[in-house]
Assembly symmetry: D2
């Protein structure tokens, strides 16, 4: 309501569409003019949202509804560049299968939001979760891709890298973590760059078969952020990232820099090195020029046995969520980059 389907104040975009409606989409108002649009980047990011294409996890992670997402750009682009006018994109739903959900209509799905949604709005669309479906995130990936095009046209070295660092009981070792930058993340099962790939696959397979699920954690590293992004006192960069991440379904925790691990330390342990990465590249809510890094934790997915039996069950949302976390990071950074333009007195 109001503007709760809009993200950002300056690089501002609004998503729309129900999971089993005609289409999903996004309108981006605030992307500056003259940005070169890369259809390839857009397609690549959307493909990454559908996991399991390139590895052995395909059969496990991919739900029956694995349609390829084709984006129709409806406005805001001319001769391959942004016009500075609203960019509207649509992704039509091809495989709606709302029939599958007719039975579900009768009973609120455990762990889903159907019942509270009904109470809040009185009138609700139960087919596949409506707006609370994970399908809604396709629009976020589109918006994040434009944010990426915009930012990388100005800051060619700016990089956002997200990866799974934990699924259920399996965690990345420190050794593995230290090699992440050199890894082809997408080539790993579940975007989890670990030597224990076979364990991961076995874990997920077993969960798929029993209709069970696992949570986990996604870590994000942003390199190349200039000094000065983040707006005191309420739009601190860490606050805006937390808002972006906790606005993704199934998230249950957010940590900036060393996060909760900082509680185990005394001030004297950590303040010896002011430029250490312990604060996640942010001080006073403002980026310091160091790597911005943070972790987002996800609860195990909600499941209905029947749904699982029909094969439309993801035993773990994390692999798919990696591209959504990246998209929301790009979108947050694009907003903060534009916000920073407003601070400089002597600029025109």
């Amino acid at each position: 309501m109001g503007d709760a389907n809009s993200f950002g104040k300056y690089f501002r975009w609004t998503t729309f569409g129900e999971s089993h409606g005609v289409a999903l989409g996004v309108v981006i108002d605030g992307c500056p003019a003259g940005v070169i649009v890369s259809a390839d980047l857009l397609a690549e990011n959307l493909k990454r949202r559908r996991p399991g294409q390139n590895d052995a996890s395909g059969e496990v992670l991919v739900s029956a509804r694995n349609e390829e997402d084709e984006v129709q750009i409806v406005s805001g682009i001319y001769s391959g560049k942004t016009l500075g006018t609203p960019i509207a994109c649509l992704i039509y739903n091809k495989d709606q299968r709302s029939q599958d959900y007719e039975d579900i209509k009768k009973q609120p799905r455990i762990g889903h939001a159907d019942d509270v949604w009904q109470k809040k709005f009185s009138h609700a669309d139960h087919r596949g979760g409506g707006r609370s479906s994970a399908r809604e995130t396709v629009a976020r990936v589109v918006a994040g891709s434009f944010a990426q095009m915009f930012l990388q046209s100005l800051y060619p070295d700016l990089r956002v890298l997200s990866f799974v660092n934990r699924i259920g009981p399996i965690e990345l070792s420190e050794e593995e973590r230290s090699h992440v930058l050199d890894q082809p993340i997408d080539a790993y099962i579940a975007r989890f760059p670990t030597q224990k790939s076979q364990d991961v696959l076995a874990l997920l397979k077993s969960a798929k078969e029993t209709g069970d699920s696992y949570g986990g954690s996604i870590e994000t590293w942003v390199d190349g952020v200039p000094v000065g992004w983040g707006e005191p006192v309420f739009d601190k960069l860490k606050a805006r990232l937390a808002y972006a991440m906790m606005g993704i379904g199934a998230t249950c925790g957010f940590e900036i820099g060393a996060g909760n691990a900082l509680i185990d330390k005394k001030g004297s342990d950590i303040h010896t090195d002011a430029t250490s990465s312990i604060y996640g590249g942010i001080r006073g809510g403002i980026s310091t020029g160091e790597r911005v890094h943070f972790c987002v934790s996800f609860k195990p997915t909600s499941t209905i046995k029947e749904e699982a039996l029909k094969g439309r069950h993801d035993p773990c949302v994390l692999p798919r969520a990696v591209s959504v976390v990246e998209a929301m990071t790009w979108a947050t950074l694009a907003d903060m980059a534009l916000a920073a333009r407003l601070s400089r007195a002597l600029d025109r």
Copy 2:
């Protein structure tokens, strides 16, 4: 910049004031008319922001600058009730001591934001941190108090309770946690309702003496929240709470409901009880009517030896932060309560 010093979209307030300037303050635009104003509640909440009044930790936790905060209400109130016009409040700085900070001016304080602030704005006020000082939170407590008055006039049973559940190595036991509701939180050392009070006191005393500091975690329980607060898809209640909390200085993590502990579980472990408290009273981003609960972790405070030696050093921000966490919770809820008014089609 822009509106980064404003919080909320509907119950909207803007804070102002530098730590060593003339005054701090807040303007609240969006508090409905007719709310009975309680000067006592306001004074009580502000007093609670200055910890150590009622217990043995007073000498340890209270920094030299422990002035009582007197609020001057400048507008928006008439005959003891809100007018529906902006409520402006000022808290004048009595004890400015900017002299103490003159030496500091030369060197950026470790862990503080002085240097990035300078780079971002070019022109900065180094005296005591300016807007990045903890002193800025006094304005948040004022705003939160009005949010509380507004909400409790409509929902008399709505309660926000925050308490420290961990300081450095000392943690609340499950047994202790189960009795929290019956405890006089403010009477405990550091608002940490534990039997190990003497250990806590010893820990803080030692840190004070050595100029060291501890982080920790604050837990919040909200009872009496009606169904339907939180606005999909970006203004999920958990997202707005995360934004509010991570906008407080020194925070480094946010968890909703069982938080990171959910990663240790399988879906089948937790989905047996849809109404369990494991999700923190929120599903699909919308309050379910159950207790809303969340945790915020804080890093150890930044310190300068010299500052510590002058006795102006807090070995732990958490006791003081409890009232700030409560204030930001009230403010977030007030905003969500007003947002929820907009959803109902058939209301006038």
Copy 3:
């Protein structure tokens, strides 16, 4: 940029689409759930935006590009009622004819915004004016129709009536004005409810032939507005109406109530009757419960001789603008109606 393509704070909608691009459209975020959607009302309002269907002015007022506008509702509706989620609507461009505009590309069109648009954005779409084309208003009519559905579900007696009261030298007489409410406005040539229809037709025909154009004035009456709409101090109802109207292309003046005619009077002339219509049903920026009325003046349309010769020239924008003025009025009222919900302290 930012949110300049969004209208309203609560009943908030964003338009997109270039005149010669793929489609135009709008996303409405903030329409409450449960509003019954009338496809007929939507079609009727869109048809009214294309003037000259029902009268002798058809041949004169209708430009060659008179395609029927078909709306595709993409989201936000289920079982005939709004879901409280964003309502996205598209109107595909069938008859793009951008070829016609290739020549124009070379020279900025007199009175059009092509050159300043180019300077502002560096990269621009010259085909048919891009976003500065009158075609953009089709999205406004869609948004206004939903605002109307929402408001009339709550206030069945609320009525917005706009009509042309002057075209060039021909003006409505006081006698004619007094009968407006009983008139079938749409049946009159150019929505100008005058006995001098033949004069109007002759005037427009002559202008069409010579490639000339006339301005004029549109008057709007809103009956059934409850007391209390309009938000002091900046969102006065008259300020928001002025903003809405002056945001329509070709407008050059706005008057509330008796408007400029009030300058001819002394205070003692008009203050004898506090409830008179002289203030346009607004005092202190707040609706009084009386008829809200205002006038908007339009400059003569910009023209290029060559364009006129191709028959794509409207000698007068006013007939078409009537439905746009009505749409922007509905949209403004819907926003103010929702805003008023926030003021009441004792409502939940």
Copy 4:
């Protein structure tokens, strides 16, 4: 409510204070850092808001309550320059005289907003109009002064000039209008740069004696506006100016450029000169680099006989409103200047 007491999206400020409360004030969030603050400019603009200091109209135009307005700057300034943090300013009410208004309390004042205000908010402050008093504009002049300091630091040649061009029956001749730029506007009676000063004085004196009042019109010229200010499609520069002006009390009309006079012309009359001033320096909603000019009309002030008898009656609001119109113009331009920063793709 919400943010209806805030003006601007980027150069954003919030006013507060009741006419007979403790103080009036403003908080500006969004003024860039490093702007040199001129206390003299601030004082000068506030002095200009109290008319009749320098000319023979003093005795006539100055109401009994003619206190000098002293501004206390509470935050946001350090070493004479803005910090980029919120700038809070207070103007304490010295001469409250709320007693005078006790009698008035019983009866709604004719033409005032007391009754609708009461109905809207249920609880209202009747003393002197509360927030609907002209006294509220003092905060606007403060905000406008900071907007002026900001803009003139970047655009030294930017000038805003407002003057009265009509009071009741007396109008500026074309000859007089052509000399306005060379005139010391403030030195003229009622800021009305006419040879007929004696007639103006006589008119106002007579109105003062009989408790009557006159309306009129204020014209504004802005020179030095760069190309590219104004944001399509809803935040057209003309729309934002109309919003700003119609948000001033007692305004009843707004015209951009030649305004309503354009209706008397045919398209062929005016389109011969694309760069003519006829459009008021705005095309497509965007500034063209030419002079921006517009007119605002004011109705005769509302009066109560008893109030007039006590000598607290202004027979004409226009002289005082000139500085308010200028302030709102500066504020609108500052917002548009910052908005324009967001459009440029290749800027950092």
